[in-house]
Amino acid sequence: MAGFKRKEGREMVEMNTSSLPDLIFTILFFFMMVTTMREVTLKVKFVVPQGTELEKLEKKSAVSFIYVGPPTDQLRAQMGSGTRIQLNDRYAEPREVMDFVAAERQGMVNEAEQVISIKADQNTQMGYITDIKEVLRKSWALRLNYSASRRN
Protein backbone atom coordinates (compact mmCIF):
# COMPACT_ATOMS: atom_id res chain seq x y z
CA MET A 1 0.00 0.00 0.00
CA ALA A 2 2.16 2.81 -1.20
CA GLY A 3 -0.69 4.82 -2.56
CA PHE A 4 -0.40 7.69 -0.16
CA LYS A 5 3.28 7.83 -0.04
CA ARG A 6 4.63 10.97 -1.50
CA LYS A 7 7.22 10.38 -4.12
CA GLU A 8 10.42 12.02 -3.28
CA GLY A 9 12.04 14.55 -5.62
CA ARG A 10 9.11 15.02 -7.93
CA GLU A 11 9.30 18.35 -9.72
CA MET A 12 6.45 20.75 -9.96
CA VAL A 13 5.18 20.86 -13.53
CA GLU A 14 5.67 24.35 -14.88
CA MET A 15 2.72 26.01 -16.46
CA ASN A 16 3.18 26.75 -20.11
CA THR A 17 3.13 30.55 -20.32
CA SER A 18 4.07 30.87 -23.95
CA SER A 19 0.57 32.02 -24.89
CA LEU A 20 0.39 34.61 -22.15
CA PRO A 21 1.86 37.44 -24.27
CA ASP A 22 -0.69 36.72 -27.00
CA LEU A 23 -3.44 36.89 -24.48
CA ILE A 24 -2.27 40.19 -23.09
CA PHE A 25 -1.78 41.57 -26.58
CA THR A 26 -5.38 40.77 -27.38
CA ILE A 27 -6.57 42.76 -24.38
CA LEU A 28 -4.12 45.49 -25.28
CA PHE A 29 -5.48 45.81 -28.79
CA PHE A 30 -8.99 45.98 -27.43
CA PHE A 31 -8.10 48.91 -25.24
CA MET A 32 -6.14 50.59 -28.01
CA MET A 33 -9.20 50.46 -30.19
CA VAL A 34 -11.73 51.75 -27.71
CA THR A 35 -9.47 54.46 -26.38
CA THR A 36 -10.17 57.95 -27.53
CA MET A 37 -7.34 60.20 -26.60
CA ARG A 38 -8.57 63.54 -25.46
CA GLU A 39 -7.80 65.77 -28.38
CA VAL A 40 -8.39 69.16 -26.91
CA THR A 41 -7.31 70.70 -23.68
CA LEU A 42 -10.28 72.34 -22.12
CA LYS A 43 -9.99 76.06 -21.76
CA VAL A 44 -13.47 76.59 -20.40
CA LYS A 45 -15.08 74.98 -17.42
CA PHE A 46 -18.61 73.81 -17.51
CA VAL A 47 -21.15 71.80 -15.59
CA VAL A 48 -23.63 70.33 -18.03
CA PRO A 49 -27.32 70.36 -17.13
CA GLN A 50 -29.11 67.23 -15.98
CA GLY A 51 -31.88 65.58 -17.92
CA THR A 52 -33.91 62.42 -18.21
CA GLU A 53 -34.57 62.00 -21.93
CA LEU A 54 -30.98 61.51 -22.96
CA GLU A 55 -29.54 59.54 -25.82
CA LYS A 56 -26.06 58.20 -26.24
CA LEU A 57 -23.80 59.72 -28.83
CA GLU A 58 -23.48 56.82 -31.19
CA LYS A 59 -20.78 57.45 -33.72
CA LYS A 60 -17.88 59.17 -32.06
CA SER A 61 -16.14 59.88 -35.34
CA ALA A 62 -19.07 61.94 -36.59
CA VAL A 63 -19.32 64.12 -33.50
CA SER A 64 -17.80 67.55 -33.13
CA PHE A 65 -17.79 69.34 -29.82
CA ILE A 66 -18.39 72.97 -29.04
CA TYR A 67 -17.57 74.00 -25.49
CA VAL A 68 -19.22 76.99 -23.90
CA GLY A 69 -18.49 78.36 -20.46
CA PRO A 70 -16.30 80.70 -18.43
CA PRO A 71 -12.49 80.34 -18.77
CA THR A 72 -10.75 77.88 -16.47
CA ASP A 73 -9.28 79.13 -13.22
CA GLN A 74 -5.75 79.31 -14.63
CA LEU A 75 -6.86 81.44 -17.55
CA ARG A 76 -9.24 83.66 -15.70
CA ALA A 77 -6.60 86.25 -14.86
CA GLN A 78 -5.94 86.92 -18.54
CA MET A 79 -9.31 86.21 -20.08
CA GLY A 80 -11.77 87.40 -17.48
CA SER A 81 -14.78 85.43 -16.36
CA GLY A 82 -17.19 86.11 -19.23
CA THR A 83 -18.65 83.25 -21.21
CA ARG A 84 -16.38 81.96 -23.97
CA ILE A 85 -16.82 79.56 -26.83
CA GLN A 86 -14.08 77.03 -27.42
CA LEU A 87 -13.52 75.37 -30.77
CA ASN A 88 -10.65 72.90 -30.95
CA ASP A 89 -7.87 74.42 -28.88
CA ARG A 90 -8.77 78.06 -28.78
CA TYR A 91 -11.43 80.59 -27.98
CA ALA A 92 -13.60 81.62 -30.89
CA GLU A 93 -16.42 83.87 -31.92
CA PRO A 94 -19.81 82.43 -32.86
CA ARG A 95 -19.30 83.24 -36.54
CA GLU A 96 -16.17 81.04 -36.62
CA VAL A 97 -18.38 78.04 -35.95
CA MET A 98 -19.13 77.90 -39.68
CA ASP A 99 -15.48 77.30 -40.58
CA PHE A 100 -15.19 74.84 -37.74
CA VAL A 101 -18.13 72.83 -39.01
CA ALA A 102 -16.72 72.82 -42.52
CA ALA A 103 -13.30 71.72 -41.28
CA GLU A 104 -14.80 68.94 -39.20
CA ARG A 105 -16.80 67.77 -42.15
CA GLN A 106 -13.62 67.15 -44.12
CA GLY A 107 -12.77 63.51 -43.99
CA MET A 108 -16.09 62.41 -42.65
CA VAL A 109 -17.41 59.41 -44.46
CA ASN A 110 -21.01 60.48 -44.37
CA GLU A 111 -21.47 64.21 -43.97
CA ALA A 112 -25.16 63.88 -43.29
CA GLU A 113 -24.37 62.03 -40.11
CA GLN A 114 -22.48 64.91 -38.60
CA VAL A 115 -23.61 65.70 -35.10
CA ILE A 116 -22.64 68.81 -33.18
CA SER A 117 -22.53 68.32 -29.46
CA ILE A 118 -22.82 71.47 -27.41
CA LYS A 119 -21.20 71.14 -24.03
CA ALA A 120 -22.34 74.26 -22.31
CA ASP A 121 -22.30 75.34 -18.71
CA GLN A 122 -25.76 75.37 -17.23
CA ASN A 123 -25.51 79.02 -16.23
CA THR A 124 -24.67 80.21 -19.72
CA GLN A 125 -26.99 82.83 -21.08
CA MET A 126 -29.11 81.62 -23.97
CA GLY A 127 -27.83 84.41 -26.21
CA TYR A 128 -24.57 82.54 -26.79
CA ILE A 129 -26.35 79.28 -27.51
CA THR A 130 -28.78 80.97 -29.87
CA ASP A 131 -25.93 82.60 -31.78
CA ILE A 132 -24.25 79.23 -32.21
CA LYS A 133 -27.50 77.60 -33.25
CA GLU A 134 -28.12 80.30 -35.84
CA VAL A 135 -24.68 79.74 -37.40
CA LEU A 136 -25.09 75.96 -37.29
CA ARG A 137 -28.36 76.29 -39.07
CA LYS A 138 -26.78 78.42 -41.78
CA SER A 139 -23.99 75.90 -42.24
CA TRP A 140 -26.46 73.02 -42.52
CA ALA A 141 -25.26 71.24 -39.44
CA LEU A 142 -28.75 70.47 -38.25
CA ARG A 143 -28.23 67.53 -35.95
CA LEU A 144 -27.59 68.87 -32.53
CA ASN A 145 -26.96 67.32 -29.17
CA TYR A 146 -27.16 69.22 -25.93
CA SER A 147 -24.68 67.43 -23.73
CA ALA A 148 -26.06 66.51 -20.33
CA SER A 149 -25.72 64.08 -17.49
CA ARG A 150 -28.39 61.72 -16.30
CA ARG A 151 -30.60 62.76 -13.47
CA ASN A 152 -31.76 60.04 -11.15
Binding site: T17, P21, R38, T52, Q125, M126, R150
Partner: protein, 203 residues
Amino acid sequence: MAKKKKKMPGLNTSSTADISFMLLIFFLVTTSMDTDMGLARRLPQPPDPDQEDAQVDIKSRNILYVRLNAAGQLNVKDEVTSASEGYIEFGALRQRAKEFIKNEQNFSKWPEKHVKVINLLGRCYVTDKHVISVQTDRGTPYNAYFQVQNELVAAYTELRNEISKEKFGREYQYLSDEQKAAIREYYPQNISEAEPKKYGGTQ
Protein backbone atom coordinates in the same frame (compact mmCIF):
# COMPACT_ATOMS: atom_id res chain seq x y z
CA MET B 1 28.68 18.71 -47.56
CA ALA B 2 25.80 20.43 -45.99
CA LYS B 3 26.34 21.54 -42.51
CA LYS B 4 24.74 19.54 -39.93
CA LYS B 5 21.48 21.14 -38.95
CA LYS B 6 22.16 23.49 -36.09
CA LYS B 7 19.51 23.91 -33.53
CA MET B 8 18.29 27.50 -33.56
CA PRO B 9 18.48 28.94 -30.07
CA GLY B 10 15.02 29.99 -28.98
CA LEU B 11 14.50 33.67 -28.33
CA ASN B 12 13.79 34.30 -24.73
CA THR B 13 10.27 35.61 -24.76
CA SER B 14 9.56 35.55 -21.10
CA SER B 15 9.60 39.34 -20.89
CA THR B 16 7.11 39.86 -23.71
CA ALA B 17 4.30 39.40 -21.28
CA ASP B 18 5.72 42.10 -19.02
CA ILE B 19 6.15 44.52 -21.89
CA SER B 20 2.62 44.03 -23.12
CA PHE B 21 1.36 44.31 -19.56
CA MET B 22 2.99 47.70 -19.31
CA LEU B 23 1.35 48.83 -22.55
CA LEU B 24 -1.94 47.43 -21.37
CA ILE B 25 -1.75 49.33 -18.10
CA PHE B 26 -0.89 52.52 -19.96
CA PHE B 27 -3.99 52.21 -22.12
CA LEU B 28 -6.11 51.22 -19.16
CA VAL B 29 -5.11 54.40 -17.41
CA THR B 30 -5.59 56.72 -20.37
CA THR B 31 -8.87 55.23 -21.54
CA SER B 32 -11.92 57.23 -20.74
CA MET B 33 -14.89 54.95 -20.90
CA ASP B 34 -17.41 57.66 -20.16
CA THR B 35 -20.15 57.67 -22.70
CA ASP B 36 -21.27 61.03 -23.88
CA MET B 37 -24.94 61.58 -23.39
CA GLY B 38 -27.18 64.37 -24.42
CA LEU B 39 -30.53 65.55 -25.60
CA ALA B 40 -30.73 65.11 -29.35
CA ARG B 41 -32.51 67.84 -31.23
CA ARG B 42 -32.84 68.77 -34.85
CA LEU B 43 -32.60 72.31 -36.16
CA PRO B 44 -34.92 73.52 -38.89
CA GLN B 45 -33.45 74.02 -42.32
CA PRO B 46 -32.03 77.46 -43.03
CA PRO B 47 -34.44 79.84 -44.71
CA ASP B 48 -34.11 80.14 -48.45
CA PRO B 49 -32.58 83.56 -49.17
CA ASP B 50 -34.34 83.88 -52.53
CA GLN B 51 -37.74 83.48 -51.04
CA GLU B 52 -39.61 86.08 -49.13
CA ASP B 53 -40.28 84.81 -45.66
CA ALA B 54 -43.25 82.68 -46.28
CA GLN B 55 -45.20 83.13 -43.12
CA VAL B 56 -47.01 79.94 -42.51
CA ASP B 57 -50.36 80.70 -41.06
CA ILE B 58 -51.15 78.56 -38.11
CA LYS B 59 -54.46 78.74 -36.38
CA SER B 60 -53.97 80.19 -32.95
CA ARG B 61 -55.71 77.23 -31.33
CA ASN B 62 -52.92 75.02 -32.62
CA ILE B 63 -50.10 76.89 -30.92
CA LEU B 64 -48.84 76.45 -27.41
CA TYR B 65 -46.43 79.18 -26.43
CA VAL B 66 -43.77 78.19 -23.94
CA ARG B 67 -41.89 81.26 -22.88
CA LEU B 68 -38.85 81.69 -20.73
CA ASN B 69 -37.83 85.08 -19.47
CA ALA B 70 -34.39 86.33 -18.49
CA ALA B 71 -34.91 85.17 -14.92
CA GLY B 72 -35.60 81.64 -16.11
CA GLN B 73 -39.31 81.81 -15.27
CA LEU B 74 -41.68 79.74 -17.33
CA ASN B 75 -44.93 80.92 -18.81
CA VAL B 76 -47.28 78.83 -20.91
CA LYS B 77 -49.98 80.31 -23.06
CA ASP B 78 -52.59 78.90 -25.39
CA GLU B 79 -56.05 79.99 -26.51
CA VAL B 80 -57.54 79.16 -23.14
CA THR B 81 -55.26 81.11 -20.90
CA SER B 82 -54.17 84.68 -21.14
CA ALA B 83 -50.56 85.72 -20.92
CA SER B 84 -51.17 87.22 -17.53
CA GLU B 85 -51.67 83.80 -16.03
CA GLY B 86 -48.32 83.93 -14.36
CA TYR B 87 -45.46 81.52 -14.11
CA ILE B 88 -45.67 77.78 -13.72
CA GLU B 89 -43.28 75.22 -12.32
CA PHE B 90 -41.05 73.25 -14.67
CA GLY B 91 -42.52 70.02 -13.38
CA ALA B 92 -46.01 71.07 -14.47
CA LEU B 93 -44.98 71.65 -18.07
CA ARG B 94 -44.97 67.99 -19.03
CA GLN B 95 -48.59 67.43 -18.02
CA ARG B 96 -49.65 70.70 -19.62
CA ALA B 97 -47.98 69.83 -22.90
CA LYS B 98 -49.45 66.35 -22.89
CA GLU B 99 -52.98 67.62 -22.38
CA PHE B 100 -52.49 70.14 -25.12
CA ILE B 101 -51.07 67.72 -27.68
CA LYS B 102 -53.56 65.01 -26.90
CA ASN B 103 -56.72 67.14 -26.70
CA GLU B 104 -58.72 64.14 -25.64
CA GLN B 105 -62.07 65.92 -25.35
CA ASN B 106 -61.65 67.62 -28.72
CA PHE B 107 -61.79 70.95 -26.93
CA SER B 108 -62.31 73.84 -29.32
CA LYS B 109 -59.45 75.88 -27.93
CA TRP B 110 -56.86 73.17 -28.19
CA PRO B 111 -55.37 71.78 -31.43
CA GLU B 112 -57.83 70.66 -34.02
CA LYS B 113 -58.36 66.99 -34.62
CA HIS B 114 -58.89 65.52 -38.00
CA VAL B 115 -59.05 62.10 -39.57
CA LYS B 116 -55.84 60.71 -40.93
CA VAL B 117 -55.20 57.27 -42.35
CA ILE B 118 -51.94 55.97 -40.99
CA ASN B 119 -50.23 52.81 -42.14
CA LEU B 120 -50.71 50.02 -39.55
CA LEU B 121 -52.98 52.16 -37.40
CA GLY B 122 -55.81 52.82 -39.80
CA ARG B 123 -58.12 55.79 -39.42
CA CYS B 124 -57.10 57.97 -36.50
CA TYR B 125 -58.08 61.28 -35.07
CA VAL B 126 -54.81 63.14 -34.80
CA THR B 127 -53.71 66.58 -33.71
CA ASP B 128 -50.70 66.67 -35.96
CA LYS B 129 -51.14 70.34 -36.77
CA HIS B 130 -50.19 71.44 -33.29
CA VAL B 131 -47.05 73.47 -32.72
CA ILE B 132 -45.20 74.07 -29.50
CA SER B 133 -43.36 77.32 -29.77
CA VAL B 134 -40.46 77.77 -27.40
CA GLN B 135 -39.40 81.36 -26.97
CA THR B 136 -36.41 82.44 -24.99
CA ASP B 137 -34.77 85.66 -24.03
CA ARG B 138 -31.07 86.25 -24.66
CA GLY B 139 -30.58 86.31 -20.91
CA THR B 140 -32.38 83.06 -20.16
CA PRO B 141 -30.13 80.61 -18.32
CA TYR B 142 -29.20 77.65 -20.49
CA ASN B 143 -30.27 75.23 -17.77
CA ALA B 144 -33.86 76.56 -17.83
CA TYR B 145 -33.99 76.17 -21.60
CA PHE B 146 -32.59 72.66 -21.35
CA GLN B 147 -35.14 71.63 -18.73
CA VAL B 148 -37.96 72.90 -20.95
CA GLN B 149 -36.64 70.90 -23.90
CA ASN B 150 -36.26 67.88 -21.67
CA GLU B 151 -39.81 68.13 -20.35
CA LEU B 152 -41.25 68.57 -23.85
CA VAL B 153 -39.39 65.56 -25.17
CA ALA B 154 -40.54 63.64 -22.11
CA ALA B 155 -44.14 64.62 -22.86
CA TYR B 156 -43.84 63.28 -26.39
CA THR B 157 -42.17 60.11 -25.15
CA GLU B 158 -44.98 59.46 -22.69
CA LEU B 159 -47.67 60.09 -25.29
CA ARG B 160 -45.95 57.82 -27.78
CA ASN B 161 -45.57 55.12 -25.17
CA GLU B 162 -49.26 55.35 -24.35
CA ILE B 163 -50.37 54.90 -27.93
CA SER B 164 -47.76 52.20 -28.60
CA LYS B 165 -48.99 50.19 -25.64
CA GLU B 166 -52.56 50.61 -26.75
CA LYS B 167 -51.96 49.64 -30.38
CA PHE B 168 -49.03 47.25 -30.25
CA GLY B 169 -48.84 46.26 -26.59
CA ARG B 170 -45.24 47.38 -26.21
CA GLU B 171 -43.37 50.53 -25.40
CA TYR B 172 -42.22 52.75 -28.24
CA GLN B 173 -38.55 51.85 -28.00
CA TYR B 174 -39.26 48.14 -28.50
CA LEU B 175 -41.28 48.60 -31.69
CA SER B 176 -40.10 47.78 -35.18
CA ASP B 177 -39.02 50.65 -37.42
CA GLU B 178 -42.26 50.50 -39.36
CA GLN B 179 -44.34 50.65 -36.20
CA LYS B 180 -42.21 53.49 -34.88
CA ALA B 181 -42.83 55.47 -38.04
CA ALA B 182 -46.57 54.99 -37.62
CA ILE B 183 -46.45 56.22 -34.05
CA ARG B 184 -44.32 59.17 -35.08
CA GLU B 185 -46.94 60.06 -37.62
CA TYR B 186 -49.58 59.90 -34.93
CA TYR B 187 -47.64 62.16 -32.58
CA PRO B 188 -45.16 64.18 -34.62
CA GLN B 189 -42.73 66.33 -32.67
CA ASN B 190 -43.49 69.90 -33.60
CA ILE B 191 -41.31 72.03 -31.41
CA SER B 192 -40.55 75.33 -33.03
CA GLU B 193 -37.89 77.63 -31.74
CA ALA B 194 -38.43 81.22 -32.60
CA GLU B 195 -35.67 83.78 -32.55
CA PRO B 196 -35.21 85.01 -29.01
CA LYS B 197 -37.27 87.98 -28.10
CA LYS B 198 -36.72 90.68 -25.63
CA TYR B 199 -39.42 90.63 -23.13
CA GLY B 200 -39.78 90.32 -19.40
CA GLY B 201 -36.56 91.53 -17.91
CA THR B 202 -33.41 93.15 -19.07
CA GLN B 203 -30.31 91.80 -20.79
